[in-house]
């Protein structure tokens, strides 16, 4: 493409511009840097995905004996108690979306690194999808925040578990991974970038 879109103000610049003519930000395409950064964030996110699912995100303490529950256990408990829609929301937001994001980010990174130029429209759509749905995985973190603040009575209390920190870090890292991956690269031919 002979144009370069500014990621800050969406102005259309000439292909060889280094700084955006409208907002003055640095906008040159840097394929290698973008891919490396994205992959680094992605790997860090995958590492944090493991403790996020092993350790409990919240503990329910009833009369001084505390019982932890991981994200998956929370989904199962909700399913068993008949709250199907919420179980599906949580499963989608907390388990399915992060995994799908890992897959999609890997796929995008791989195709960009291998200079594949087919399916541009499809890959742009995938990119937009993970960019849009990414932050919604934070629902689980905020639910813990809300429950911890609400339920701290004498004989029943909800305590945050160590898993919630890993989970929040995992989500933030995937958001960053998607953010640093330059979507403009998807429409470029390899030798020109």
């Amino acid at each position: 493409m002979e144009y370069l879109k500014c990621l800050y103000c969406e102005a259309t610049n000439h292909k060889n511009a280094r700084y955006c003519g409208r907002c003055g930000q640095y906008i040159a395409l840097e394929a290698k840097k973008s891919l490396h950064k994205s992959l680094a964030y992605l790997l860090a996110a995958i590492i944090f995905y493991i403790p996020a699912n092993i350790y409990p995100v919240l503990l329910t303490s009833k009369f001084a004996n505390a019982q932890g529950s991981t994200i998956l256990e929370g989904v199962v408990a909700m399913w068993q108690s008949g709250d199907y829609p919420v179980a599906i929301i949580i499963f989608t937001a907390s388990i399915f979306i992060p995994l799908a994001k890992f897959g999609v980010l890997f796929y995008l990174n791989y195709t960009l690194a291998r200079c594949q130029t087919q399916n541009i429209a499809k890959r742009v759509m995938l990119y937009r999808l993970i960019e849009l749905t990414g932050p919604w995985s934070l629902i689980d973190v905020f639910v813990v925040l809300i429950l911890v603040a609400l339920i701290h009575f004498k004989n029943i209390a909800i305590i945050p578990g160590i898993g919630v920190s890993s989970f929040a870090l995992m989500v933030v890292l995937t958001i960053l991974s998607a953010n640093v991956l330059d979507p403009r690269l998807l429409g470029e031919e390899c030798e020109k970038r």
């Binding site: 103000c9 259309t12 629902i139 925040l145 998807l186």
Partner: protein, 206 residues
């Protein structure tokens, strides 16, 4: 370096489209994929001014009043945003509480106050470079304001406890709902490039 004024690149399919002036209430769509490119921005500065001011008022309400009130067999508790974050901080969850403070308090507030100041400058036609700096900040932090996600989280949390708790939503809950609608209208539906177009038109940047 000059940039190309009369071409806009579609976000969805990266097709360059020719930019045409619009009448009030018209919108431009991509010739290739039909995605919305921009709408007519007649009177948009006034819309931004009033909406961001309303959002700031609602933001104050969100932080003064509790969001929900629950009653579990006579034991009562209230949820307020800043107290919830503080609770988590006290329990040693530094990263989560700090992150929540940023995306639920700091960024939503900055987003709306920057938009308000920006609209104020544009309406009165002063402070060209300050307006630009504000708009640049808005372009970056709009992704990191997450009160909409928090709102859905409240609903999910309430569904988790509704069986054994009596729940009543307070003032802040509705203020939060209003804030989110305003935020969606201001920075999620309107493409950010359109605010930049408005900026350059108002100050006659060439």
């Amino acid at each position: 370096m000059q940039y190309i004024r009369d071409i806009i690149i579609c976000d969805h399919c990266q097709t360059p489209n020719k930019k045409l002036p619009l009448q009030a209430k018209e919108e431009a769509r991509c010739a290739e994929c039909g995605a919305m490119l921009y709408t007519s921005s007649v009177g948009m500065e006034w819309k931004i001014l009033s909406f961001s001011f309303s959002a700031l008022v609602l933001f104050v309400l969100i932080n003064i009043f509790p969001i929900v009130h629950i009653d579990i067999a006579g034991m009562e508790a209230q949820l307020s945003l800043i107290a919830a974050i503080w609770e988590l901080f006290q329990r040693g969850f530094l990263f989560v509480s700090f992150f929540a403070l940023l995306v639920l308090e700091v960024f939503p507030f900055l987003l709306m106050s920057f938009l308000f100041a920006f609209a104020l400058f544009v309406v009165s036609g002063i402070e060209k470079s300050a307006a630009k700096t504000l708009l640049l900040a808005v372009s970056v932090i709009r992704r990191w304001s997450m009160l909409d996600i928090f709102f859905i989280s409240i609903l999910v949390a309430m569904i988790k406890i509704y069986e054994y708790a009596h729940i009543s939503f307070s003032v802040s809950f509705w203020a939060l709902a209003g804030f989110i609608i305003l935020e969606i209208v201001l920075v999620r539906i309107v493409p950010i490039g359109q605010l930049w177009d408005m900026w350059e038109r108002r100050y006659g940047v060439s």
